[in-house]
Amino acid sequence: MAEPQAQSRLTYDYVTRTIARTLGTPTRGYFVLLGSAVALLGVGIITLLYLIRYGLGLAGYSHPVYWAVFITCFVFWVGIAHSGTLISAILFLFRSGWRTAVYRTAEAMTVFAVMTAGLFPLIHIGRQWYFYWLIPYPNERGLWPNFKSPLIWDEFAIGTYFTVSTVFLIMGLIPDIAAVRDLATGWRKKLYAITSIGWTGANEQWRHYTRGYLYLAALATPLVLSVHSVVSWDFAMAIVPGWHATLFAPYFVAGAIYSGVGMVITLLVPIRKLFGLEEIITVHHFENLAKLCLLTGSIVSFSYLTENFVAWFSGNPAERAAFWYRAFGPYWWASWTMNICNGLLPWLLWSKKVRTNITALFVISIFVNIGMWFERYVIIVVSLAGEPYTTWTNAVYNPTWADWGIMAGSFGWFFMWFLLFVKNFPAVSISEVKEVLAPPRSKVSKARA
């Protein structure tokens, strides 16, 4: 790892204590946030109970729009998840030093986003109480699921992704928990003593740990790419014009990372402020995130162009109709929201001024999230509503309180976990931040003295 510029104040001790401070007694504001998150979750739960009792009819579905806000949210959250693993695994393999300060937050976000996403397939099915029929378990009837169905691929992809990203997060945490353990007192000391499973930083531990971490990263990298590809195949495998495109896998992966990075920024800005981590999470880090955003955003907008070009160039009347409907049909507002937020907004990031302006980045990141949500809305709802094969099925789709209720619940669920995490575990990696600092050397210190 390259020896980075020696930041005078940033000693190992400083890093440890600054980050450990984030675990101090929560303020009132924290509890307000947590409370509102739980409240949102409550809304979601009540809505779900209604859906189970009376049926999905409470949501806005109408023939032929059989997938809508729920699946939109599913893809949205899966997308959010991706940047985490990207930053923690892929950038780790690329040995890019700047990731160390931000990857923990991103990774936690990944885990909780996948947890959120995973709920939607269960919520959106017609008979939620039979969700377990999708799992290949030996049963009295001797029936198995259909492994040709992209939904089953999904199940395996999401399941794997959740498991792997969780253990990846925990692995990264262990040395830090140990560090916190050695500072903590009272019940927390006990908690960390157990959760750090006896980490001491002995050379034997580091030896296996670093190796293992490397391989985990190596496994997580293809995984993260596969997961959103599989999600995209839910659509690409179908014959619906606007879904049935080979472009979808890369297009979705890029979109996912784009939205994920957006969400990382959205989360980091307040954390940095509240926990006073300006020294550790610097503008330099944000600028790098912004660059990532710019890159993936450009890929996304390029995909938009490709989609429309191919639709026109193929000469396939159905394809053409679908994309015409998308741009100028009754849902034009959704499409153009998506085009502006994802197609044009990233271009602002060409300017260093914007990239290095935290407020600007925060605002942009919010719009990135909105834009990406609408991208999924457009792909799912609008493609189905304007399904050009059947000239006779009319679509009148409007979300209802049930759709919004579940969506609100998902945000509550996500932020509840995230808030609990940042207060109880180091939201910035202690050991890895140290790794990019100059190690204490007697010569250096002598010179200083």
């Binding site: 790892m1 190992y12 440890t16 290949p136 001797g142 029936l143 198995w144 699921p145 259909n146 492994f147 040709k148 089953i152 691929w153 395996f156 399941g159 794997t160 498991t163 253990v167 990846f168 692995m171 040395p175 560090a179 353990r181 050695d182 500072l183 003593a193 157990i194 499973i197 006896g198 001491t200 930083g201 002995a202 050379n203 034997e204 531990q205 580091w206 030896r207 296996h208 670093t210 190796r211 293992g212 391989y215 985990l216 496994l219 997580a220 293809p222 995984l223 596969s226 599989v230 195949w233 050991s431 890895e432 140290k434 790794e435 190690p439 204490p440 050397r441 007697s442 010569k443 210190s445």
Partner: protein
């Protein structure tokens, strides 16, 4: 300190190892100490550091961790499980969908891939735990200092009362800011 390592001391209650613990403030001094120890023929000493440093690994001249074998085997096993799951379950009750073959491999590749990753990752974790926690000799029985996870390096040299003095001296010379015996 024992409190901290309770979970492990409880699993296997080995007797505490007698030896000398040196606490270092600086990396170079630590490396220096390692070199001296190896020169002096010590093999089984333990080095603590808050972060992994290649210098230390090099100085210790460790072999590459066997964890990779776990990853490899786990991955292969996962792939096999994926293949068995999909194909056997398809043929167990043959149902034709969309005019496709009952057991058609291309869609099953996805499952196989995911299983590869899943099993690979899990067995890697097991590998780390097994090697780091269990295979690591005498873990939990040797001296430790809370500062090692913060900003101090440490070297523990197992030594009976006879050799202890020599080890102590060696560490001091290397520039340990504190040396303890236990």
């Amino acid at each position: 300190m024992n409190v901290l390592l309770k979970p492990f001391t409880e699993i296997f209650r080995p007797p505490p190892t007698p030896g000398v613990l040196g606490v270092f403030a600086f990396l170079d001094n630590t490396l220096d100490a390692i070199k001296k120890l190896r020169a002096a023929g010590h093999t089984d000493f333990t080095v603590y550091s808050p972060i992994p440093r290649h210098e230390i690994e090099d100085a210790l001249g460790q072999a590459v961790s066997p964890v990779r074998m776990f990853t490899l085997i786990g991955g292969l096993a996962g792939c096999a499980v994926g293949a068995w799951l999909t194909l056997w379950m398809s043929y167990d009750w043959p149902l034709v969908v969309g005019g496709k073959p009952v057991g058609s491999v291309p869609p099953y590749v996805v499952i196989m891939f995911e299983m590869t990753i899943l099993f690979g990752a899990l067995s890697t974790i097991l590998g780390i735990l097994f090697n780091a926690a269990f295979a690591a000799r005498r873990v939990g029985t040797i001296q430790y200092d809370a500062r090692f996870t913060n900003d101090r390096f440490g070297v523990f040299v197992p030594a009976g009362s006879d050799k202890a003095a020599a080890a102590e001296k060696l560490l001091r010379d290397a520039g340990a800011e504190e040396v303890r015996r236990g």
